[in-house]
Amino acid sequence: MNALFYLFRRKLDYTVRRVSVYLSYEPDSEALSEKFYGLYIVLLLLGWTIVMLALTVSWLGNQLAKLHFTAAEYDRFLFLGLGGWLALTPWLVYRGYDLYKFDLADLDFLDNVPLSPTLVTLGWWGRSLFKLPTLIFTLICGIIASTVSYVSGGQDWVALGLGLAAGAGIFGIASGFRWLLGLLRYRPGPTINGWVAYGSSGVALGILVFFPWARVIFWPAALVSWLVTEATGDGLQWLLAGGALAGLVVTLLGLVFGLYRLARTVRLAPAFEEGKLGGQYRLLTGVQAGAGGLREEASLRLHLGRRYQQNQGLSGKADGALRVAQPKFMGVAAALFSKQWLRFQRLPISQTLPSFLILILVGAGVAVALATQMQAQASVIIFIQIAYLSNWGLLKLGVGPLRRELSHPDFFVSWPISRLRLMSYCLIAGFGLLLVSGEAGLLVAGLTGLLSWSNMGLWLTLWGLLVAFDVLALLFDFQRQLKKWSASPENIPNVGTGLVLLVGVVWLFVMLSGLQSSLFVAAAALLMGYSFLSSSRAA
């Protein structure tokens, strides 16, 4: 127990020190000036929070007042939302993984300090509540309560307090419920399978929407929605509000008791196993994502690691038969394509779909915005924004496959082609979908009358030239950056602001040169870029 307190105190110290670094405050200093500075920071933050809350509430209240909803209607919306959250808990538990979310250091600590499963479970559940999502959710509940009270002429400051308490309460209850069901996975005996998870969530949603006594069954959601939306409406009902809060506390205590009883039968070994994979994922996304932008790699590793732990092959089959043969399909391009195809097959749909959607939306959005604004002869300010923001998005997205390849430096050596050609292949893979979706977007804009159809050939060519220029600029920039690279995955080169600005200036020239001459300007820029690249390569 003391060891657990010690661990959490260290974690708290660490958090305090991190915050102190941000605020340039030295907590260990005995100097009076430093103490005054700390007080000043606290007062400043407190004052800023109060002012921002007041501003948010009044602005939101004015917007909501236009909708003319009654407090009862807000109550119903909120009840359905919170009830839906509780109803979906079995599904969330079934889809979830690594309930405890141990850090890798926690695993080392627990290996050396044998604590009982009950203590570990209650300790890490409690710790899971002190995270940023809890704060955000609680704050949102408080703001909603205050806003609804402000609209209906109630005591918005009291409502803020009640909303905060109710928000924290329902978050704790939902979390406790999720942990209660989640713990079943770590104890001997039947666990929640897919049928049970989807079935119970479906039935619960049905009850929530259609059953007349749904408020009784989903009582925590009912109490919170009432506290947030109606408790301080026209007149404060202190007794009822107190009763509702007491109801939430009793529910929470009941869940804690349930967790305590269930945790006694839990085996920690599978939780540690999941925690190791999850801990590595958090480490990769926390440390390397900033340096190398490898969040996607970490997610893929977690996904495939889960499959592997469940004795499934990487493609979902138990044994991936050797697919080789087909010796005709050889060479670097074929190898890269086959690798990309395997990757595509193995990425979880939750990762593939958003990635593709973003690429398609950005490609089409940028192309259509560029063409329509040029057609409308928009102002320079608009052009500057399009040039900078578009290229920021295009370059960051398009460079993804190249940076992924660079994160395997030894393989980067193994490809029997020049570095420049390999980079070109990677960038073609990165910009291919952006180019195609842009062309498709332009065609759709032409068909819907957004763009003049007579100039469609010009738009399509211009988009191709501009994307090609982006690719060329990236090749030039990465060739320059790779000369200084230490071939370590921790410091992979990235798209810098300088490159975005440079490419943005070229785009701006193209946009300002008018509809007819834009093609010539873009082609000239492309030729000039190619010439630069060739000369830098020769040097």
Binding site: E297, L300, R301, L304, G305, Y308, G313, L314, D319, G320, L322, R323, V324, A325, Q326, P327, F329, M330, G331, V332, A334, A335, L336, S338, K339, L342, R343, R346, L347, S407, H408, P409, D410, F411, F412, V413, S414, W415, P416, I417, S418, R419, L420, R421, L482, K483, K484, W485, S486, A487, P489
Partner: protein
């Protein structure tokens, strides 16, 4: 007059390095390094920690760009004929980074496909993987391998494709003794097939019997290159002296030279400060 068809053609060195220089943060890791190694040989790269062994191998592999200097593989300049060099050069890093999404066997297949070496791939891959004892884990993802298995996979990736020069950065560091012996057996075969293998290692006893030549480096410069008898003679040691003794003699000589230089500089400074 000489007839072109009868003229004796001397093959180019398998690996030639001229004036190779690389610095990080103002500190020279490689300093005007020159090296020439023949084909069909096994060469041990030796040096203390931080001598520049890994940086040299990375520069030879074209993984990092040197500030100055030239690397030629089988007569091809790395900068001008990059594709040809990469086709002839294989590299086994000290810490390999594999693709998350691929299995052990798929990594081999990927390399073989890129190098157009898929003919007879199944048999070669099985033989290699069995030799290093990772056939049983061939369908496992690369991230599920142990450190030793990861190193074995990196070695297999280098041997599954054709090459003329093989660079190995401490390949035996995490391998079990059986696998080390098998690796040395494969390297001997590689030499017989005409390849040059340059390997950095701290396993002195094994290197002494395995390698034909040794390159001793320190502070980014070559101290000595040659076969064991030549190095013994250069270090003025007895014919029974081991590689370890030769290496230490060269390092001590280097340190003594440095001390002498420092003493001379200090004396000169002291003389300059003496009042006339």
């Amino acid at each position: 007059m000489t007839n072109d068809s009868t003229e004796l053609k001397i093959p180019p060195p398998a690996l030639q390095v001229t004036g190779l220089t690389k610095s990080y943060g103002g500190h020279k890791i490689l300093d005007q390094l020159d090296l020439k190694l023949p084909p069909a040989s096994l060469v041990g790269l030796l040096g203390p920690n931080g001598a520049g062994k890994t940086t040299l191998l990375k520069a030879l592999a074209g993984l990092i760009s040197p500030a100055n200097g030239r690397v030629q593989v089988a007569g091809y300049d790395l900068r001008k004929h990059e594709a040809e060099v990469r086709g002839k050069l294989a590299y086994v890093p000290d810490v390999p980074h594999f693709y998350v999404e691929l299995t052990v066997l798929e990594h081999l297949e990927l390399i073989a496909r890129a190098h157009k070496a898929l003919i007879g791939f199944e048999e070669r891959a099985e033989r290699l993987l069995r030799r290093f004892g990772i056939w049983e884990v061939r369908h496992n993802p690369s991230f599920a391998l142990s450190r030793g298995q990861t190193q074995k996979l990196a070695i297999c990736c280098a041997f599954i494709r054709p090459s003329e020069v093989l660079l190995l950065d401490e390949p035996g560091g995490t391998l079990d003794i059986k696998s080390v012996m098998r690796l040395y057996g494969m390297l001997t075969d590689y030499r017989q097939a005409g390849g040059l293998a340059l390997l950095s290692s701290h396993q002195w006893e094994s290197l002494q019997t395995l390698c034909d030549m040794f390159v001793l480096i320190d502070q980014g410069q070559v101290l000595a290159v040659g076969a064991l008898p030549f190095l013994r003679e250069a270090a003025s040691l007895s014919p029974e002296a081991s590689l370890r003794e030769i290496y230490l003699a060269f390092l001590e000589g280097q340190e003594a030279d440095q001390d002498d230089e420092t003493d001379e500089e200090e004396l000169e400074e002291a003389d300059a400060e003496q009042p006339v």
